[in-house]
């Protein structure tokens, strides 16, 4: 047992860190630090810088542009990326549909989609959740009917993150309504520019526009846009959800935020002195840092295990990472609220894209607190994660 990083791993961390220092556009970094939203251009610009360096799709197999890094290197890269901070790769393309295509797709599909995902020539979004299908995803009703050489798609998806930017969608559609509910689902990809696709924004409680409703009204999709086999979509969805395991802890994000809290708490006064000198506040901050340290080590244990035994089946330990990771992220936003105190109140009507530079950036703290309530809901709510642990780990 040795928890220290090797010399080579430390050198790798330095290499990654200095690349971020030299290449992340300063305004992009500042906006992330201040909790502002980024424009589509700002994100895509950064992702193309990453892709040019060969780090756009780090965990893909080498033949499709991956790096061949060890599990620990991936961990270091992600941590540094989150902690710098720089925008993380667009998960929908890089972590979700990409691996499904290179694992289950045809050669033609690989050729057509993978390079465009890596360079974000296509912005992908995820068509999974429906109004009646949240945690019970397999109850989804969006239908794809085969008509000649086309699929005809009808239905509605919801919580579709950043669909307003999307060029492509990967969609779970029911292709056999007589089969048991998990069995009759297929994984179909198509252009968001197709006739019959309507995107309607959902405004969330922070005032932002991240998620959308997406409607399909007789959308015609070429038959070859089915990925893998018909009616096997549920398997691919499970593969996809289990594929991104350790990143969900977002340790680097919380680390960066805790550093910011410590910095701010040295400046904001309470009772005539910086709030960091308030013993109760300081202990709360320390408590959160300790939880995060424990999570970081739990994550490293999962990473080391994957490195040794390969990425086999989804590791139920990732449910621990999701639960604790989301709780800690939420605690950090609460601590920020506590630091800023009464100045949490002013509302930036442009809070959505953070474009109103005249508005004091402290205006982003309350929205960020509101927005972070999502992290214990999305990606399989924390209650679903507890179901998974009970079943897969404890055998209940």
């Amino acid at each position: 047992m040795d928890l220290a990083f090797t010399k080579e791993e430390q050198a790798f961390r330095e290499e990654v860190r200095s690349f971020f220092r030299d290449n992340v556009p300063p305004d992009t970094r500042r906006k992330l630090v201040e909790g502002r939203h980024l424009s589509k251009d700002e994100m895509v610009t950064w992702w193309r810088i990453l892709n040019k360096k060969g780090w756009g799709v780090t965990h893909w197999p080498k033949e499709y542009g991956g790096t061949g890094w060890s599990a620990v290197q991936h961990y270091i890269f992600n941590e540094e990326l989150q902690a710098y901070p720089a925008p993380q790769p667009l998960a929908f393309g890089v972590s979700m549909v990409g691996p499904v295509i290179y694992t289950f797709g045809s050669e033609a599909q690989k050729k057509q989609y993978l390079p465009r995902i890596a360079n974000v020539d296509d912005w992908w979004c995820q068509g999974f959740s429906e109004p009646g299908s949240g945690s019970d995803l397999a109850s989804l009703r969006t239908k794809a009917e085969r008509k000649g050489d086309k699929w005809i798609i009808n239905g509605q998806k919801t919580w579709t993150t950043l669909a307003q930017h999307a060029d492509m969608i990967f969609c779970l559609c029911r292709t056999d309504s007589n089969a048991k509910k998990q069995m009759g689902i297929s994984f179909i990809v198509f252009s968001m520019k197709s006739k019959g696709v309507t995107v309607r924004p959902i405004q969330t409680i922070d005032g932002g526009h991240e998620v959308n409703e997406v409607f399909f009204d007789n959308v015609e999709v070429p038959i070859e846009n089915l990925i893998g086999e018909e009616n096997k979509g549920w398997d691919y969805a499970k593969f996809l959800l289990g594929n991104e395991r350790t990143g969900i802890a977002r340790v680097g994000v919380s680390k960066e935020r805790l550093r910011r809290i410590r910095d701010l708490a040295g400046k904001v006064e309470s009772a005539g002195k910086p709030i960091i000198q308030d013993a109760a506040f300081r202990e709360k901050l320390a408590a959160c840092e300790i939880e995060l340290k424990a999570l970081e080590l739990t994550q490293l244990r999962v990473v080391a295990d994957e490195g040794k035994h390969g990425k086999g089946k989804p590791n139920p330990a990732s449910s621990v990472l999701k639960i604790k990771g989301s709780e800690i992220q939420q605690t950090t936003t609460e601590l920020l609220m506590e630091v800023i105190g009464p100045f949490a109140a002013p509302y930036d009507v442009h809070g959505d894209d953070g474009s109103n530079e005249a508005m004091d950036w402290t205006a982003q703290i309350a929205p960020s607190y509101f927005n972070n309530r999502k992290v214990s809901i999305y990606g399989g709510s924390n209650e679903i994660q507890r179901n998974i642990i009970a079943k897969a780990v404890l055998g209940l």
């Binding site: 928890l3 901050l285 320390a286």
Partner: protein, 380 residues
């Protein structure tokens, strides 16, 4: 970075797990509690036979040169089996003082007896008002000729009743809460002027309140610098905290396992209560808490070797905070999920809960260590 055990470490784990499976079921434990001193000389002898009592000592001192990971493995196993024998007091703490500060003569006088199981030790440190501050020492050691005269009272000295030798913290200079002027002394338990009041503790161990009245010891009694021993005390107590973290992980593992088994078999409303989601989620949260604790126990074990004493203490304090929070949750919920049966002396689970609870209040509780981490500027 590597979380795996080496081949030798796996063998060590198998051997102690095997030994305890054979000799430490719940009924045997009850019988051991009734023996003189409250633990089993026979089990202690078996631990000696397997070399476990010599584990952390160097080969030159007759030991096996084991490190922090080896102690972690042993303490986890001892926790899992709810062992009563004084491994912490004798090997971890007593052995720690001898390893870090003992002269060749002191080691020659004490280490062989520890390793062969013929002698045990106890750490007389806690005082009426010192609570968790290691530097808060009123007991005095006054120079007399080449030796010392020790006067004072120590409380809740684990294994104080049985120990052959007491390791006593005493002030050689300065005022009660000065950080300098503290010494550590080896005192024979049968020395003139040592009086003991023994009692069982809540978790089934035995402790003693010990009064030292004009106890004379020789010049060879002092471990390390008798006027500046705080750093030594902190180092050894940090190792005790690391060991307690590991013991707690073993206790939590077993508590969770026992609880899950129970709710799988206990039927109400015609079904196993483990089919109820509210209980499943509680058990899942216990698992999360136990895993976070395990991570920090490993972290503490590694931190034991940090060269910077401040960094070491801060990391170990952080671990003790996580362990404290986790053990309280796991312990309390284990009782809750057992329902009424969990309240009885007859069921195992309550005894795990009690040991966990006493660990929380040993060598600094959660609040104490959280304050230390906060005052040290945090952990990020």
């Amino acid at each position: 970075m590597d979380f795996d055990l080496t081949e030798e470490q796996r063998l060590l784990k198998d051997s102690i797990d095997g030994l305890l499976t054979d000799s430490y079921d719940f009924d045997s434990r009850k019988a051991y509690m009734k023996e003189k001193g409250g633990w089993s000389k026979a089990v202690w002898g078996k631990l000696a036979e397997q070399g476990l009592l010599g584990l952390p000592f160097s080969e030159a001192d007759g030991g096996f040169g084991g490190g922090g990971v080896e102690t972690m493995i042993v303490m986890e196993a001892l926790g899992k089996a709810l062992v009563l024998e004084p491994y912490l007091a004798t090997v971890v703490i007593g052995g720690g003082f001898l390893r870090h500060a003992g002269t060749d003569a002191q080691k020659a006088a004490h280490v062989p007896g520890i390793i062969d199981g013929s002698k045990t030790l106890a750490f007389a440190q806690l005082e009426k008002n010192s609570r968790y501050d290691l530097f808060d020492v009123s007991t005095t050691a006054k120079k007399k000729g080449d030796g010392w005269i020790i006067d004072g009272e120590k409380f809740v000295v684990l294994n104080g009743e049985n120990a052959d030798t007491l390791i006593v913290t005493a002030r050689t200079k300065g005022a009660r809460r000065d950080t300098s002027g503290i010494g550590v002394f080896l005192v024979p338990a049968n020395a003139k002027g040592v009086t003991k009041k023994s009692y069982p503790t809540q978790d089934g161990l035995h402790a003693a309140d010990i009064t030292f009245t004009g106890v004379e010891v020789g010049s060879d009694a002092a471990l390390g610098n008798p006027e500046d021993g705080l750093a030594l005390i902190e180092r050894v107590v940090d190792e005790a905290r690391i060991a307690l973290c590991a013991e707690a992980v073993g206790l939590m593992d077993e508590s969770l396992k026992t609880t899950v088994e129970y709710i799988k078999t206990r039927k109400q409303f015609g079904v196993a209560i483990g089919t109820f989601q509210s209980l499943q989620h509680r058990a899942s949260d216990m698992f999360v808490a136990a895993e976070q604790a395990r991570s920090m126990s490993m972290f503490a074990t590694m931190a034991g070797d940090f060269e910077d004493a401040k960094e070491r203490s801060n990391a170990i304090a952080a671990a003790k905070v996580q362990i404290g929070k986790s053990l309280k949750f796991v312990g309390q919920q284990a009782i809750q999920l057992h329902g009424g049966i969990g309240m009885t002396m007859e069921a195992r689970i309550g005894h795990y809960f009690k040991r966990l609870t006493m660990i929380e209040n040993s060598f600094g509780d959660t609040d104490y260590h959280q304050r230390r981490v906060a005052d040290a500027g945090g952990l990020i």
